[in-house]
Symmetry: C3
Subunit: 361 residues, 3 copies
């Protein structure tokens, strides 16, 4: 691995884009927020700033993780990678926007399983024909995805059809959240042993280029900035949606979900384009798995600890229907063992149809 | 391919049966319709005539398609093979029988996925033991089947549980229909390249025996006759069902569905009997795929264009439940990779149970 | 097979435990029942006696079956292995406890598919790493499991959403029960040919040690005792649940289900611990398959023949949701082809969450 020794620069070109663009976007978003630049500009600028900060957090974690071996990167990514989404959701809960948060959680899962996986299949399939997906690891992730989504939607189903449990939706949501977090903790040893889930290490990690102090510093700065920007993003969200005439559900399901996962998504599609289909699949399906295993249960618990608007796992029924069908399709496609561009187009089609059904608020 | 040169006759025995029997059935059905031969005879005769005309359309398309290469046959079959079903559905919509059309669409999917696939497994399994189904192509068709059925039932689910979209069921049905037709058009290049979906060409096509003018002529005559006979069939349907004491839902789900697919179904079972299990599976699952991808969306669009009783994709819930479970079972059996007669018996059992649950109107 | 000749003792140590402990438990349970030892002791003692009698029936059947070849054992096990559960359910129906019986039927399926399979995966995975599950036979059983659960829940779904059939739930339940029993009878030849479903014979059966008269005698005694003890168990159930403050649904779903399957469950986990993962999987999934194919339909028919509280297959919706999701997960894990301890932990987590959602009566 002599390719990445002293001769490699600390920053590569894309680092400058993320750092410079991120700083600029944060500053502009702050000005737009405090100066009150209408309804649309604060939203667009803070969305851009969140996206770039998410990317910066990801890069810092990756540079940092390599010091402790590849396994630690997986754990750190699990712990910190969804930090911006966590901040956004917490501020949105503080503002009482429960429906937006629920829609954004499910929407992130849908966007990854349908839209991003569909794009990855189309791009990969058009460039390279049939692509294989048949690693056992991919199938295990898909199985875990199904199991955690089933657990995630059980309180909803109990609430719809089982009157006695409906009166205890907070308690049942807490039980499910604890079970999901326990499952996440149990999955850590596998991550620590084998690198971030499903990824062979050479493909994932470039050699560390940032000194450890720089990585820690940038991570801290990015995290603090993310906290502020998330606040601005959430307070800009409602007026912007109102001015676009977009419903809360659609905003959470499509706009927040795509903004919050933009960078990871690009990575998945790029990997498929390079014919690393197994790896692309792992990246694409690992993100919704973390939402179901960590982010959603953490938000349920934190919202009750902090006394915010209490998030429960009783989602509006259409979200439950959509996420169940999406995970079913994703599992069938994984077990099927191959992907092609037509399956990708079908996934994108399902995403469009699902999004359309939420268009009317 | 010298087996099919000048020495081969233009018509083989089964052609004579279809042509002669079809002509006779059309004439008798016409007389029964205009002379008003009670409630049962017009129905039986027009059902027989529709079945024979469907077979004649299929034969003409096959003879014709070979002139343009095997791929074109697939496209022509997609475009024209469901012509009689299309006519029946349009006349039924004109007569306001929306529930019958919806039940017939779902019923055709169910009959193929459960009854015909079950019969093919039983016949093939009893004759040849375990049969393999593990081609990648079969799995891709099954995946597309799942995806298109999910898209097809989304407007129903949205309408049941998501109040805002329920008020826009026509618009949502149109969006889904366009998405499904786009998916169908995207699937055409694969069909054009590799012959009708999933079929190796030698097995499917006999060498052309009919001169091109004869094939075009017979196709035109059959199509025109199908239009008339469909009208008679639809107007005979309601009185016949009333005299048998059969509900609209059961009539569409079982009787129209089986009559409309009779010939294709026999082919699938015959292929399984000859141990061509992959091919039999492709034939059996390709038919409901075309109903979901082409026929149903086309009917939604045409019913609004022609101003007939507006067909939407908001089906009665039990139809949605049944088709979802049927496609799930079909996908699991395909991914499972083998069939045996016990799985076939299980499929037939599910069909019987589903049909029974619609017996009471 | 000279290991099991005249030198092998008639009784091995575990036989003494089952025989002695069983006799003692039956006597004590009888005394507790007739003497009225409070609310808890009759329940605990009769539950223990039922468990030990179930084990004794299983042992007798196994010793007996070997005389007629391994295939007959499978049939005998199907016919007699669920005898204690059948008695309990009949007495419970006689006592009008329909909800308990329905919950116990679904609960037995859930306990096997989620809890026991999860424990088997965890134990096997921790001891032996990834374990393979890819026999075609396992996949066929899983497919049959899906098909029979779909048939089993169809009357429920029809009743929830399809008004006309809802008025005929008894008739529809009878039709489904007959279809399931026919499917069971059709599956017998395969069992007779290949031993009890899915098991290679060397692994399953020890050589017969009991003389045939002893086996028949113990089976008869155990069956008669089971009939009495089941009566005591059912009459102790309600007061005990009341004193524990446990709802009917939870009692049936968790307590009756686990007590009724305790011994079989231990066997499945032990086999996984010995790295016989295919065999463990077959044992674990074969038990719920028999509940769906034989026990549930038999109870529906017998309850109407005997004029007890009529059991129908219209279950409370949450039971339907739970069993459908459980069988879906079990099928995906089987088709996935491998198990590991993390998947096992996930299954246990789903079981805990499902049980929790029934905690509140």
């Amino acid at each position: 691995m002599s390719t990445a020794t002293a001769t490699s620069p600390t920053f590569i070109r894309s680092d400058y884009v993320v750092l410079g663009g991120g700083a600029l976007a944060v500053v502009l978003a702050g000005i737009a927020h405090y100066a009150g630049w209408g309804e649309v500009m604060p939203f667009v600028l803070s969305a851009l700033a969140v996206t770039l900060l998410a990317s910066l957090v990801g890069r810092s974690v990756e540079q940092l993780g390599d010091r402790f071996g590849p396994g630690a990167t997986g754990v750190l990514q699990s712990a910190l990678g969804n930090l911006p989404e966590l901040f956004i959701a917490l501020f949105a809960l503080k503002a009482g926007l429960i429906e937006v948060v629920q829609a954004a959680l499910i929407g992130s899962i849908l966007a990854n399983l349908l839209l991003v996986m569909g794009l990855a299949f189309v791009v990969g399939g058009l460039k390279h024909g049939h692509q294989k997906l048949d690693s056992q690891r991919a199938r295990t992730i898909a199985t875990l995805m199904l199991v955690s989504v089933v657990a995630l939607v059980l309180p909803s189903l109990a609430s719809y059809v089982h009157t006695p449990a409906a009166a205890h939706e907070k308690a049942l949501s807490m039980i499910v959240s604890v079970a999901l977090l326990v499952l996440f903790v149990l999955s850590l040893p596998a991550s620590l042993r084998k690198g971030s889930t499903g990824l062979s290490d050479e493909m994932v990690h470039e050699a560390p280029r940032w000194p450890i102090a720089l990585a820690v510093g940038l991570l801290s700065v990015a995290a603090i900035a993310a906290a502020f920007v998330s606040d601005w993003f959430v307070s800009a969200l409602e007026p912007a949606m109102a001015s676009f005439g977009i419903s809360d559900a659609f905003a959470g399901l499509v706009i927040v979900a795509i903004a919050g996962n933009a960078i990871e998504n690009v990575v998945g599609v790029q990997l498929a384009a390079r014919n690393q289909s197994e790896y692309a699949f792992s990246v694409v399906i690992n993100s919704p798995l973390q939402i179901a295993l960590v982010l959603a249960p953490l938000l349920v618990i934190l919202s009750q600890v902090f006394g915010f608007a209490a998030l429960t796992l009783v989602f509006p029924p259409m979200l439950v229907v959509a996420v169940f069908l999406a995970v079913l399709i994703a599992v069938v496609i994984t077990v099927d063992g191959e992907s092609n561009w037509l399956e990708g187009a079908a996934l994108i089609g399902v995403y469009v149809v699902v999004a359309a059904s939420f268009w009317w608020g």
